[in-house]
Amino acid sequence: MYPFTYHRPSSLDDAKARLAASEDGRLLAGGMSLLPTMRFRLASCADLVDLNGIEALAGIERGDGHVRVGAMTRHAAVAGSAEVREAIPALAALAGSIGDVQVRNRGTIGGSICFADPAADYPAGLLGLDATINTDRRAIGADDFFTGLYETALEEGEIAVSVEFAIPERAGWAKFGNQASRFAVVAVMVSQAAGGAVRLAVTGARTHVFRVTEMEQALAANFSEEALDGIPVSSEGLNEDLHADRDYRAHLIGVMARRAVRDALAR
């Protein structure tokens, strides 16, 4: 690590002010992604503004047709929330599938989506469930939020405040995780809204989360595993690493998509 000044504001306004005052400021949420990169000296900053003192940023609220999750809400809180389990059980399953107990007790939904790791689970949750990200200055739809490898639509100094999930008719989650970290090798969130529209989002397979429209259309017509039969998944442009080559990832997308549909139908 390189030296930095640590700040712990207790309000969002204070946090914004401190961030604005710094030449090179950075937000700290659960620290599960940021701190390792700082320890490896891959990231550094002059001022670290810790959001953990801002109570208003954490919490889960069920509203009319949606669930709102505060940016500083821990993965464990989402996994264990009675509201989420009732309204969108697949989202609770997603949160419960992240990392290990320690990571779930520290990591936050805001940190996860703002970091935008290509293998993170929440991006698939947000895109597959048609969520909206509320920031300190605007609302951004999930379709517009994730823009690239570790890249989001957030502007300089913009703070994610909460995520609003529309409650679907049904939704399913399937994840093939890496053995060590549990990060998704491939994971799929599928949902069907009351009107019948289907969203199917894949994480872990490309620079950032994406939807598979062919599968969505087939499922809109017939929400069943069989509807996915014969839909080819190309391996072109897919991520390749030590744990999975392109072909294996492409194959897993098909398998996980079917399992997500199965999961949605079983819930």
Partner: protein, 820 residues
Amino acid sequence: MSDRGHIPESRQREKPRADLQWIGKSMKRVEDPRLLVGKGIYADDINVPEMAHAAVLRSPHAHARIVSIDASKAEALPGVLCVMTGADAAEVCDPLPTWASPPVLQAVIAHDRVRHVGEAVVAVAAEDRYIAEDACDLIEVEYEPLPPVVDPEEALTSTGDAVLHPERGDTNIGLERTLTFGPVEEDFAAADLVIERRFRWPRSGGQPLETVGAVASFDEGAGRFTIQCNTSMYNYCGWMIASTLRVAPHKLNIVPTLAGGSFGSKMFVHKVPVMAAVLARAVGRPVKFMEDRIDNTTSCDNHASDRVYYAKLALKQDGTLLSLKTRIIDDYGAYLQFGVGQHGNALSQCVGPYRINSVEVDLAAVLTNKCQQGAYRGFGSEVANFVIERLVDAAADELGVDRIALRRQNFIQPDQFPYLIPTGNMYDSGNYQAVLEETLKLADVEGWRAKQAEGRKEGRYIGIGVASCQERSVFSATEFWMWNLEPGVEWTSSPDGVSVKIDPTGKAFVTLHSPFWGNSPETVAAQVLAEQLTIDPSDIEITYSDTDQGLNSTGPGGSRFTVMVTGAIVGAAGKIREKLLRIAAHLMEADVRDLTLEDGAVQVKGVPDMKMSIAELADKAHYYRLSMPEDLDLTSGLDATYVYDHPVTTLPDPDERHMGIFYPIMGHSCHIPVVEVDIETGQVHFLHYAAVHDCGTMVNPMTLEGHIRGGTVNGIGTALFEEFSYDEAGQLTTALWTDYLIPTIKESPADIVVGHVETPSPFTEYGVKGGGEGGRMGGPPAIAAAIEDALKPLGVTIDSLPLPPSKLRALIREAQARSA
């Protein structure tokens, strides 16, 4: 049988008995309370006044010449005390210790040439670690890349620039030779069937939470080093470090710290203590060097066997196993720290629990641009277990007989022990049939066969694997050098010592001369001494000596410590008991022959009132010299030391017809995992796991079960996930635990059902055998067999590990393509 050598008389003093009070109890570990409240002192907990900190700049290249090093910016950084290159280090120290002969020279800091990614190129000592690391970032090194040698089979033919150690000749073969034991050619000629397979065993390693660390200081006045370090073997060959540092052996004191795990990797740590010491001498202040994770994974003694086997098993149509031939190419990495000791080790049990008449091993130890091999749980013989078990499975399949039945048919029988195998090693005792039967019972194999058949109808792939494996324990030093081509270190002793003292109030103090390694040496010592002196373990205190105080002690490793500490305690306690009896006889005016030691007191047999407690006798022994008999040898106090030699070892035959007895205390285990393979993803789940071990007389069943369960999960790691994987350029792609996959609770069976059979050793005290390498000895072949069984309908064969989902899925896809 004379071709296989001779069996010496047993020197056992304490026979196994049913009425033992402490040995055999699942007593809680003596070590735990202080470790659990955080009072254990590990290497990184040590801070001494004036201490500086080291960091190391490491090679980014697998193989390169060092053209130039510009450290001027680093030297100018405030807080930097010393920047040391390989050339600087070579002026003040000699090459690191090695058991290889001819040696492969290894320097603490590379000079002229780097031979693997992560090799030390420059070391920095500074006021703190941050400054030391900042300084490393400022050093400019110019390299001239050389061809990286990564594939072990390609290394066989390297020449020219691809040769790592040109001074040893124009080749990367570190050692190559063939050893033949028994009538191999005749047996193959007589065979009806020869099973031939190529196996690949992956490079993996022990992954202790605590990396290697040392705090060294140099006293210019006395010309003397003190090094605190989490190493072992310091009281056996710690003086070799002094030679490297160019001081006389008595000018170095190595002080052990607790080791936060080793699994073998801290057997004889050399690079880290030498690094800290040369820097300490250079800066005139104590220096701490604590490896970070990348220091450890890229450049310590953590990498293990990395082998290709071309194996042939000859047998008769009726299932009788005859002979085993293996061509082994072992990728040793850049240096040969322990020579090819891993292959001495593998010869100890290469025929498994089976009667096999002859053996040929053709070994090529190749040098490649990878971290050198060290010691790791199994030390090479776990690979032999994998090979023989896979061959026996293949033979059964080929003959169309049951895999279990073929094992039963070829087991060495209980009345054949002690048994010399073709390589000369002795199996002291065993009952393989009993272990198998017990495991079959715990595993409910019949029940699972039924579920497997049901499952197949539903498209589920359930498999059951059986491995019956040797678990050799208590190595003798000969294994380190028996393969050497030239005479070098040719030691035949590998003892362990203890010092025992009873203070004037009757409390006992034990000093161990080898370190705490994460295992339970204090618990063992307390249980055995309590048994010997009929005292309570809570009245015993245990400490560890440094090299100044130390007795000749080899230390843990090769599952030897429980046997050796038990033997040493029996020896020392015997002397103390004798003195207690003598003093008591004198004071109570009784005949020694009428006395017994029981319940912590010396008692005149049959006269309940006539007794003296150990505390009373200790008081007399310390303070009442004038009440004692006149005898110069009867000194005041109550203490004894004892160095217990290896219980039974013999020399290799000069003509190499056999290698003598070198690893004879033979445990055994049977593992039966039940797995389910998700054929769509290639993921393996454990449905059940049963393991039965026979480690002779158990000192502490609870801690032994820990070794079995922990070792089994270790074995799951080897079988399914773990690999130090180098790419074509020689980059270690799994240097971090994000990529080097270690099984967690989620990848482990919900329960590992453990059972025991006790076949006492006729050679060790109380009949104890070692069990420290535990489940890793038997897990991998059993898991491979279970996966193969699960995928039988698809026709998948398993001959290489590990099998992470991606690789298993690829095998399934190929099989599906073949049958489509």
